[in-house]
């Protein structure tokens, strides 16, 4: 069953791209990573799914309904980020009680124990928490509410490395015992890739890839060697990125759709796999090349 179905979904702001022609579906009980640079449109997409923002075109459906103004979607989904609005003068213990009232699957014991594990007092008011602690609290709420659709938008901003690790571990463990549909956005894929089943890659408001994360790891290959040999071999192949090195060597990232026979003709070239995280960066790079090019241009001008 599909929990989310988007057809040509679009959200335009004045002069901004927002989200354009989003066509995708999310299956029930999967963990999907929404990956893109800052400003790529991740938050806009997720807020449309949560019913916060109204699409300006196309169709967005969650649990078979348009999420904007749907009580059913609101009751069965949760969107959490750094800015989630809760009264700053409310003690955390009381915040938990409010959630308990609204969410029938709320696990009070889990909430209390996780809060204690992360050394946050139930008596503390939310306004007194640091940014990292606030995100930890929102993460705990997202887990304990056990909503059929839970959306974490950059959940680990400001958290210590060890807290990040613990949070993602807690998320996986709770998912194993209570499978549900989870979306996590991040601009650091390497931090969450093992946790994910699928990945949605967004750039400039467009969904450029939606595939299992294991397939992204095999999506491309890095080929390096002397410039002439590389250039010769990559004719008629899909080049994703290219990096020139000072020694006259070239590394090219190509789509991994060539045959073994193809590979056999590449004498003297070195083939190496590209990690999912690097691949996502190559795919969302504005220009082919990279940060080095900025400095190269400088040197020669």
């Amino acid at each position: 069953m599909n929990v989310i179905e988007c057809r040509q979904a679009e959200k335009k702001y004045r002069g901004e791209h927002g989200i354009l022609h989003a066509d995708f579906t999310i299956r029930e009980n999967t963990i999907t990573g929404v990956i893109g640079r800052n400003g790529a449109g991740k938050t806009t997409l997720l807020k449309m799914l949560a019913g916060y923002l109204k699409p300006t075109g196309g169709e967005v459906k969650v649990f078979g309904e348009r999420p904007f103004n749907s009580l059913k979607v609101s009751a069965n989904s949760m969107y959490l980020d750094e800015f989630t609005v809760y009264s700053d003068s409310t003690p955390i213990g009381e915040l938990f009680q409010h959630h308990r009232r609204f969410y029938p699957n709320w696990d009070q014991q889990l909430a209390v124990e996780l809060l204690a594990y992360f050394s946050i007092s139930q008596k503390a008011v939310r306004g007194s928490l640091s940014k990292g602690q606030r995100n930890t609290l929102h993460g705990i709420i997202g887990l304990a509410a056990r909503c059929p659709l839970t959306i974490f938008d950059e959940p680990t901003t400001g958290m210590d490395a060890s807290v990040r690790k613990d949070f993602y571990r807690a998320l996986l463990k709770d998912y194993l015992t209570h499978p549900r549909t989870i979306l996590i956005s991040s601009h650091h894929l390497d931090e969450i890739e093992d946790l994910l089943e699928d990945i949605v890659l967004i750039d400039l408001g467009k969904i450029i890839l939606h595939l299992p994360v294991e397939e992204l790891k095999e999506f491309g290959m890095a080929i390096s060697g002397p410039a002439a040999a590389v250039n010769n071999w990559i004719q008629h192949k899909t080049v994703i990125a290219r990096k020139e090195e000072a020694s006259g060597m070239v590394t090219v990232i190509v789509k991994n759709d060539f045959t073994a026979a193809d590979k056999a003709t590449a004498a003297g070239l070195r083939f190496s796999p590209v990690s999912a995280s690097d691949m996502s960066i190559y795919l969302t790079n504005r220009e082919k090349g990279g940060i080095d090019d900025v400095f190269n241009k400088r040197q020669y001008s």
Partner: protein, 127 residues
């Protein structure tokens, strides 16, 4: 046990780890294999990835499925893994060694001697 930086996809690493478990006789014929959820918990990975590792082994005839009960180890699993590793992994390694030895002008006798020395060193280390 898993190497996140490895070239190999996680699910291949899971399959290989399970094969080693069978080779070391931690699982015998008709034993129930770990579930995708146990593997996911143990290796901190998505259960779908773990399931892919189990599927590789099922496709290779090392595991079989019992409806509603999970995956079990087949009769010939250990033999099959051993044979395949000799034919594929070991053969590939030998070819690499021979190739490298040729580059370095190391003769066949010298290579065999090196292998024997390594064997002795290991036995010594075990004692």
């Amino acid at each position: 046990m898993l190497n996140p930086d490895s070239v190999k996809p996680i699910y291949v690493q899971i399959a290989e780890w399970l094969e080693t478990e069978i080779l070391q006789e931690r699982f015998k014929a008709d034993d129930k294999m770990y579930s995708q959820y146990q593997l996911a918990d143990q290796f901190n990975i998505n259960p779908a990835t773990a399931a892919k590792g189990l599927t590789i082994l099922a496709d290779a005839g090392i595991l079989y499925k019992k409806r509603g009960l999970g995956m079990f180890v087949t009769e010939q699993a250990a033999d099959q893994i051993r044979h395949r590793r000799i034919n594929e992994t070991l053969t590939a390694l030998v070819s690499e060694i021979v190739e490298e030895a040729a580059h370095l002008n190391v003769g066949e006798q010298e290579l065999i001697h090196m292998i024997q020395q390594e064997g002795k060193r290991r036995k010594g280390a075990v004692r």
